[in-house]
């Protein structure tokens, strides 16, 4: 399976990828995107099985990316990995079609809890 990791921070993309490995998802292909617009394009070109996206990003935010995907008919499983998880954001994410929202900081157990049903 293929996982698209979208975050404008290269450091955070590395941490997300490392946590995926630590959680046992080390046999999946990883594709990186540096903002929402890049993620939107790469969902089309790379056909990932799951998108893990930051929320706050320049050019196109994560929620704008998700809304654009759903508007275009894409049903790719989408989860947020973001530095804040307010009730308003969780509601907005759910309404837009996100499967989950993982608030930073996270660990491998948090990833397993949310990703097992998608990737198992």
């Amino acid at each position: 399976m293929k996982i698209l990791v979208a975050d404008d921070s290269r450091v955070m993309r590395q941490i997300v990828i490392r946590t995926l490995r630590q959680a046992g998802y080390d046999d999946h292909d990883i594709v990186e995107a540096e903002d929402g617009a890049d993620a939107l394009a790469k969902v089309g070109s790379e056909k990932p099985d799951l998108v893990l996206s930051d929320w706050n990003m320049p050019n196109m935010t994560g929620i704008e990316c998700l809304e654009a995907l759903r508007s275009s008919g894409s049903a790719v499983p989408f989860g947020f990995v973001t530095s804040e998880g307010s009730p308003e954001m969780r509601e907005k994410a759910a309404n837009a079609g996100a499967m989950f929202l993982i608030a930073k900081p996270f660990n491998e157990d948090t990833f397993k809890e949310h990703l097992d049903e998608v990737l198992a």
Partner: protein, 185 residues
Amino acid sequence: MTEFDTRFEDTGERRRTSDAPLSIHDLLDGETVQSIAQEAWSALVGDDEFLVPLPGGLPDDALSSWVEIVGPWTGTVVLTCGRSTAEALSRALLKEHAPPVLEPEDIEDALGELANVVGGNVKAVLPGPSVLGLPEVGSAPTAGSPADTCRVDLLWRAQSLTISVQGAAGALTDPHENNQNEVPL
């Protein structure tokens, strides 16, 4: 299955412009800020990385990263440390992906992301709704009013760093100024 936290319902309470400005001291304390930072350090820097609440003094070449929070309380969460500390933090975050020579962008990215995670979790304990800005890195922004600043001095690997949750400069200096628009013109 979709699983979202619905424990925090909107009570419908709203602040009025006639209410006194919120001071950060009414909303959180240094212990909370340290606890939030420690959680971020344990998850991102490493399990055995501890922040010790001791003042140590910052070097002249200190670098800051910060995120802005805009809402019922408006201000900035600022992380400041020396450049060598920032470099060590970047290596700790990147681990095996750290290049032999770190680029300035790597250090700014790492320090900015730490401020982003700490800021996001500070925002979570403040009254909402509020908005978190994108992280910025550079010389420390102007300090806010002491009456609206919660600062913790910490040591990480015996190196000093500070985390300051500071109100927008001057926001508490003249509370009457905020009420001017209530008078019909």
